[in-house]
Structures are given as C-alpha cells and as structure tokens.
Amino acid sequence: MPEPPSLIGASPLRKEGRAKVLGAARYIDDIELPGMWHGATVRSTIARGRIRSITFSDEIDWSEYAIVRPSDIPGENVIVHLIKDHPCLADGFVNHPEEPILLIAHPSKAALLRAKAAIRIEYDPLPGVFTIEESEAAVESGDAERIMWEPNEAAGSATFGSANCFRQYQLYSGEAKETEAGLAKAFEEAAFIVEGEYSTGAQEQLYIENNGVIAECFRDEHGNIESLCVQGSMQCPYYLVHALTVVFNLPEDKCRVIQVETGGAFGGKEDFPSVIGSHAALLAMKCGHPVKIVYDRAEDMAGTTKRHPSRTRHRTALSKDGMLLGAEIEVALDGGAYTTLSPTVLSRATLHAPGPYRWPFLRVRSKAMATNIPPHGAFRGFGAPQALFGIERHMDRVAKVVGLTPEELRRRNFLRTGDVTVTGQKLHEAFDMNAMLTRVLKEHGYHEKLARFAEENKTSPIKRGVGFAAFLHGAGFTGSGERRLNSEVVLRVDKATAGQPARVCVLVSSTEFGQGTNTILSQVAAHTLGIAYDDVYLAKIDTAVVPNSGPTVASRTAMIVGKLVERASLKLLETLRTYSALPETCDRDTFFAATERYFAEHETLRTSVRYEPQAPVFWDDQLYRGEAYPGFAWAIYVAEVAVDMNTYQATCTRFDALQEVGRVLHPVLAKGQIEGGVAQGIGYAIYERCEWKEGRMMNNQMTNYIMPTSADLPEIHVHFEEVPSVHGPGGAKGIGELPMDGPGPAILNAIENATGVSFHSIPLLPEDIFERFTSLGHLHGGSEDIDATVDRDTEVEAPEVTV
C-alpha cells in the first residue's frame, strides 16, 4: 500500500471554515436562550475618587430590573488574575475611567440605555497619574496623594510590588556582582557609548467581534446557588472558571465555562472574559434568568484592555570595531490601574529586551507602573513588541555612531547556534541569523533599493527608504510557566454509530479564534495516528468535558499543546498495540480495525498525557535565570516605505517577513498568521493611536481609531526557513505572536533611511512627522536639507576612542 501523503506541511481545509463562509457559525450574539435577559455595566465617569452617592431616578420602575452591587457578591469582590487587587465592582472608590460600579439587567436590551442614564453617581475626585512618568514622579517626589496603588498582603502583592509599581525585574547576564563589575569595565573601555530612549503607545486589539458572554445560574431546591454556566467569546475558559470560583465561592466543578465561536481575540479575550463573565453570572444569579452581556464597540474600546504603553532606555558599550561589550537596559510599562497580567507581560518584555545578540555583560531593569487608566492586558506579543522596538531601533542608531551599516553591525553581533543567552540558556537547536539576513535582503532587493532610493530621493518629494529588524520570540510560557501549568490533553476514540463512522476526538481547552487550532491539532493527531484528517475532530470547548490544556496564549498551542497531542497519539497507538494487536506499521484501516477489537472488550478508549519538557528546561524564578523559553522563533523583517513630504504620510510599500519557526504545520494558515500579524504591526507603527484624556480613551470608535484597511497595506511576502525543533509536533515551533514584533522597528528604520531623520516613538503619524520636520526648520525639506546626524530626542554621546 502506498504511504499516505504527510499531513504535516499539508494545508487541509480549516475545520470550521465551511460554517464560517456560510455565515452559519454561531457567535455569542447569535445565541438566544429561553427567558434570557440582557445586562449592562454602569461605569465610572472619572479616573480616580471616592464614590459619594449613587442615586436611582424615580422616572424608572426599578422593580423591572435586576441590580447587582458589590454587597451582592457571594464570594470575594475580586477578579483574580495573578493576584487579587482588581475589584469585580468598584466598592466606594474608583481607580480608572470606565471602572464597573453597578450591573443592571432587564428582559429588553433597549430598556437598559434609559436605565443607565437614570443612575446618577457623585464622586469626590482625587488626582490621578496617567503616564509612566507621572506615576514615577509621584513616587520620587513622595507625593502621597498620587500614590494610587500600594502592595497589599491580602491581595498577594506584598512581596512583589512597591508604591505605584506592580512588579520589577532585574536580569543579569551572569552573577550579579561580576556582571556589574564587567559592565563598569565595558563602559570604561568602550570606544563608543550610545544611548537612546524609545517609546511605544497603547494599541487596541480591535477584534471585529466585541466581548460577549451569556451566563446562567442554577439553584438547588433550597434556593442555594448550585452551579454556574457561562458561555462566550474567549481564549482561556479555565481562566474564567478560576475567576468564578473566587467571585461565587464555588468549587471548580460547579463553574462550567463553554467557549463559542470567537470572532478574533489577539490577547484581548485572554484576561478580560474573567471580568465580563463574572459580571453576567452575577446578574444571572440576581434575576434568575440567563443573562447576555455583549458590549458595543464604544464600550469595548473604552472599557477593556489594550497593549501596554512602554518606554525603553538603552546604554550600550561597543569596541571600536563594533562589537557589543555591554549594555544597561531599562524597560518601563504602563500597566493601568490594576495588576492583571502586567507582571508576566513585563517578564516577556525583559527577556526580549536584549534582542538576538551576544552580550558579554548585560543588565536589564524593568518595572510595570500603575496609572489611572483601564488596566492594560494581553495583546499578541505580550511585551516583546515593545522591548524589540527599543533594541532594533537602537541598533540602527548604534550602527550610525559606530560607522557601520545596520547590516554589518548586526552580523558582527548575532547570537549563533551553541551560544548561551543572557539568561544562561544554551541555544542547542540550529539557527543562522546571518544566512537569514542574506536571504531576506536579497528577496527584498534591499541593496539595490538602498542605492536607487538615495539617488531618487534627491529630487523626489516622495522619500523612499528601506529598513529591517532582526528578532527572536520565545514560544510557550515564560520560565517555569509550562511546568506550573502542567497541561493535559486527552484523546478519545468514538465508536462507529449508525450515521457516523468511528472517529478520534481531541479534548483540549485550547481554543480556536481564527488562528487554526482546530485544524493543526487535528492534523497532528491524524498524522501521528496514520489516519485521515477527516477522521479527527476537536471536542467542543466545555470545561465540563475537556481537560485543562492551558490557556490559548503565548504562541504555545502549536508547539506545546501540539506536542501533547502528538504524545497522546503515540500513547494511543501503544495501547492498541498492547491490547488489540495493532501491527507495528499500521494505516487507517488497521488502526480502526484495532479500535474495533479494543471496543469488543472495553467500554471506552482514551489516552491522556501531561506536559513534560522535551529537553532540559529549567528556570530559577529567584535568580531570574535559566531556560527562558522552551524554544525560540527567529526572524528578520524588511520594510520599504514612502514618506510624502507634502502630506507627511508614511506608507509601507513592500514588506518581506522571513522566519525560522521550525517545521511549518500548515502553510496556508501559517502565512495567514504572519500576514495578519504584520498588518497589525504596520498599524501599530504608523496608523493606530489611542488618544487619552485623564485616563479615558477619547477615540473609542472605529471611525477615529484607524486600523489598516485593504487599501493601506503593501504586498506582504512571507518566507520560511524550516529547521525542525524537538519541542513541537513534527518539529514545529510557535508562530502566533512573532509577526507582531518586527514591523514597528523595521518601518521606523526605513523611515530614517528615507528621510534622514530618526524617530523613536510609535505610533508615528503624519502629524508627528510634520511636527518634527517643522521643528527642524525644514517645512518642505528635501533629504539634502536634513542633517542626518541631527537628533533632538535623545542624546548620543560623542564617540570616545580609547587608546
């Protein structure tokens, strides 16, 4: 019999694709339950202050409504993420605009708007802090009035935090004292010392489907709460289970969570469903009906999480031939008003801050500051895009000071196979950044363009340029995360029934929200078992049925969960060999024949596996050293830009993305992931700005928060290097977040190449470019007018050449 074609690297049809193109896929707002009510959230109108009074206007017959106040919460008034500082409902005090204060429900959705308007809340306002700098200044000046967050024993933050600071990390490239001494020497002996400061703005996930859930609360014959069921649009059903156990003081098995078709997430539905899910469950408890809460766009944008704004400072020592000797890096994130996931976002930022380079001596100090802004949360990349923007813009600045091309500087300093990273992780698996750089610059036509644009820019009002960014992205949970998660995957064989042949069911809590979870996990199972893709399906994500395979985040699904599916499949084959005489070399027919023999003697056929590292993975949380990630993806992205010197609009005109992500499981989905991430990254760089006023997002509409349309994006060329990794199924590594990291720095590097002016902040909008050029005194400056070395934003120390 001929060998069936490999399913790894094939592109079978997306499992749920047919329902999606038919419009038949059912998202949360498409679901109605009998007797269902609708819920709404009454939110704070100020950034910080005491709630003085809440008045219900008597124009409304409030007996028709269910109202939930903090005192109605049966368990703790807390949304638990990493710690417990985030109230489910503000109780007497608000810490950010749009903070939930009350919940109301009514059978008619239309009746909610009028009722919300009839609730009047009065406050005694207090001063707030709205930026990293304001938050720092409050601490430094000892301004007690503006200390808006303090560590708290009861909340579990006492050991980590300090005033206005959720968490700090210190990463040393070796033993602390030795590294400090090494750094002192490096800076003393350096031929060049280059400093720079880089900042990034908040970014809205802007999934096209807003957050939404439907909750039910079931009571026993005595009227006591027996159990809850919440279904909704989400990434991590077990996060919501955990949140519900705290809010309702119920055991886990009484808090059932079901994920329904989810219309985009990107991290925006990682931590936030714990909030909206708890809210809907409280309303269901109160009114005795199922309750649906679906936000409209304005509420979703104003009230839910965004990417953390950041500020990164670099101080770098180099030898006269451009070798990196040492660096001091400081990363600061704006975490918003409560801790939520900021410590883990900060950790990923810290670990990615050094970029893909060799550092003899390095120190990273990082901190997540509290501000009176709605809590920032998970967004694809999770701290890495911020940190990598810093290092990759800085490397271009360093190159200029040292007198090397951006390309040559990086070539001299790239990490190589077998090197040890700054956390002490040996890079066992083969990769070659130099070869990748050569390949992608050629694919892009980089060198030819450099020369041509330099010539054309002399006379053209459109300045063109090219730039690139080199980076890495750790796949899987940071540090000891995967060990702690202890993820489980179950495979079950379903017996043939009248209308349905026997099939294999994959039971995971890993959710599908467009990335292709259903498809790739089916591929892995089918490939490993030697059966057809159509023989495998994923169980509906229902925590009453599926085990906890961990959250669907951190580029971990393909690599970590995929490997678990592969191992569970191998274990299933082993079971069938042991009990049902499955031959060593088997195919689809012999596999299902063996399952039939198994069922003749057994009721059920299931296998279960738990996470085991595929190579030594050890992380020391105290020392902040060890294997930071099971595996890294490596990438180099090249951008071509055009800056119109009449309108000051920068446009990305071509993009090449080359990455080494291990074996590509599904080329069509993988390309789609990269292209989609690059598009979000282009938006992050030159289109998407959150406008803030006293902690409130002012442009919380799609009309004034500008994400790229089909007309705004360039051709995005995706290239893969495939070096199989031991960590993932069939050699795959994580891919999902990676493409978010590169576009920001690549595009700003290209804009510097085009205009001769270096910009250090994203988003970079036409008004920013305009302002910079007018401040330079060149209203309609051609490139010859701009002194390439002028640099107002940060200080570059003059090269000091040692003897």
């Binding site: 749920e16 419009g23 096209i208 390309k671 989609g676 799609m702």
Partner: protein
C-alpha cells in the same frame, strides 16, 4: 410600528418593525438570520454588509423603513441552494475560494467580506489587485492582513469566469 415589505434572499415577507430599527437588527432579530454581524454599529467595518437592490450597504446604517420594498441578499442567500432546511449542498464559488485559500480566519468579517466580493465581481468580473483593494476597503479584517482574502477573490474571479464561459 410600521409594516415593511421586504424580500430577503428571494422570499418576500411582511414585517412589523419600528421604522427606525436598523436593517441589521431586522435581519438578525425579526428574520432570524444571524449570519449578518455587527462590528462597529457606525458603518465603518462592513461586518454587517448586505446587498440591497444589488448595492452593497452597511445594514447598521439603514433604517427599516428605508428597506421597505427592497430586495436584500444576506450571507445566507449566497450559496446556491440556500433553502430553509439545513445547510446547502454546495458553497458558492466565492465561499469555496475563501474556504480553500485562507480567506476566513476568525470568520466574523467573512459574511460581509463575501458580499463585498460578490458586489465587486458583479462590477468587475476580472478585477485588478487595485480594484480588489478598493472594493474591499470598506470591510475591515483584523486577522488576515487581507493577503489571503485578495487571493480568495482572485481565485473566485477565475472560478466564476470559467463557469460563465
């Protein structure tokens, strides 16, 4: 309440609705066709796009009264045998091409995107890339970066031209 006469996916019906109710809600709540999605509620994202008398409209901006007498095609009416009972047997070539070429990821923009494609290919059976970009610029997709969608549209154009010749 007003009574409007509206033909949805070929079936004429009479509905009693508030005159200013959004066509989007009429379709979802009164006609129970939930394939049309709400993304922004202000005509920016195109998730709610439908064909009304052959024109592409954002149904969140159309008052019910304005749709009186109109013929509306929603995603449920795109596949050839979209009858009331169950799933249709065959996908429309546009749907098939989105399915095969990675044109749908999370799927929430997909109904509007497919109707926009339908409209585009009615106008330009062999569209250039520029025409595709412009034709779909009113439909936002946050997942794909549009590249797979462009490819889906190009493949659909080929498939439809092959069928019609």
């Amino acid at each position: 309440m007003s009574t409007i006469q509206i033909t949805i996916n070929g079936t004429s019906q009479s509905l009693d609705v508030p005159p200013m109710k959004r066509l989007l809600d009429v379709l979802r709540e009164d006609a129970h066709l939930t394939g049309t999605k709400e993304g922004c509620g202000e005509g920016e994202c195109g998730a709610c796009a439908v064909l009304m008398n052959g024109e592409l409209v954002n149904s969140c901006l159309v008052p019910a009264l304005h749709a009186d007498g109109a013929s509306v095609c929603t995603i449920e009416g795109v596949a050839p045998s979209a009858a009331a009972e169950g799933e249709p047997a065959h996908l429309h070539p546009i749907q098939q091409c989105f399915f095969e070429n990675g044109g749908a990821q999370c799927g929430i923009c997909t109904p509007g995107m497919i109707l926009a494609t339908h409209h585009l290919l009615d106008k330009y059976p062999n569209p250039t890339l520029e025409q595709i970009k412009e034709g779909l610029a009113g439909n936002l997709c946050r997942c794909t970066g549009y590249m797979r969608i462009f490819e889906s549209v190009q493949k659909a154009a080929q498939a439809l031209t092959t069928i019609s010749t």
